[in-house]
């Protein structure tokens, strides 16, 4: 693995971990449910996405790389649609 790729890997994973941290802080500190939902989706999509991106150069073969991407795609899909569902539940709950 070239140094450049290594550097990229480390950077992506660190930023990913940071997004998890930021998402957690948001979930705990933000004032109301909708803003907390916003923080959560950032951690979901970007945090995991960057970790996956950082691990991609380290994948042993195409199949493991594909698995990583599928994992990310699944979480993107479910994160986005459950955020819709949760948001709707919140809106209806307030009425």
């Amino acid at each position: 693995m070239t140094t450049l790729l290594e550097l990229f890997s480390v950077a992506a994973i660190s930023v990913g971990a940071f997004f998890f941290f930021a998402g957690t802080v948001g979930l705990l500190r933000f004032p109301d449910s909708l803003t907390r939902l916003h923080a959560l989706t950032k951690a979901d999509n970007l945090g995991l996405g960057l970790v996956v991106l950082g691990l991609l150069p380290r994948a042993e073969n195409t199949f493991s790389a594909l698995k990583l991407i599928v994992i990310w795609a699944l979480v993107l899909l479910s994160g986005a649609s459950t955020a819709q569902l949760i948001g709707r539940a919140l809106r209806r709950g307030r009425k």
Partner: protein, 317 residues
Amino acid sequence: MSVLPVLDVVLASLVIGVALFTIAARDLFASVVGYVAYGLLLAFVWIRLYAPDVALTEAAVGSGVTGVLLITAGKRLGALKNAAPEMRPGLSLKILTGVLAALVAGALGAAILMLPDPPPSLAPEAAAAASGAGAGLENPITAVLMSYRSFDTMLEKIVLILAVVGVWSVGANKAWGSAPAPLRQSRPYAPMVLLAQTLAPVGVLIGIHIFWTGADAPGGAFQGGALLAAMWMVTMMARLAEPPRIDAQWLRMAMVAGPAVFLVTGLAGGVLAGSFFAYPPGIAKPIILAIEAFMVLSIATALPMLVAGPPSERPDQ
């Protein structure tokens, strides 16, 4: 490797903390949410014990499907709108129970600290089962389930069927043969439908993949079947599919297929290979995979039927 011990302690205290919450939470919903989180955490503990097979089963069955079962039950109970009479236990009873529980936990903990050294192990026998009789299975867990302890595994499938029969039979008499109540009361909602439509096909593929790799790597019939079951339930929860009538011929065939094929192969082994549940050398692996394929079918149909509950005449009350 200085991070891992810290991680272990954090994980252990989290598991206990979330378990405390599920016991102490005031309402049922919160405590079931806690239980789902608890199942996820336990899956991580199993990973740390080098048991990815168990981790996957715990995440799928112990956390996911059990959580859905409890929440569905809570919904149906809530529909009765007749709260339990408050009978809060008194302080003395609480203290007494606490002491009793602490005694049980303490005794168990002491037993763990006093486990014999060197530990007894059946690993050599399992290794023999994995490589013996031409099985050629790389995953020792699958070898144990399908070869070394195959009788247990078959009976366990029968337990699942008996459980389904048990659940069906507590339904009202006049409802017999009809379909269980749907898993969602109201009309489907677009994002949920989209999610189910995309998730289910991918999930079926992944479930089959996990079953297939189970011969040589972590995975297998239980995990693959549980994932397929979860996908069927997702489509039912989004109202893309409704629970089938319980007298449907295909449903009953699918549920019985696993143990039936297992039993027939076992009997055939008695004739062809010399003993009950022995596989003819050389073709053991294809036979095991064939049995497992039918077991996947049985698990994938039985688990959702257990969650859907007894047949009900009307759509959910």
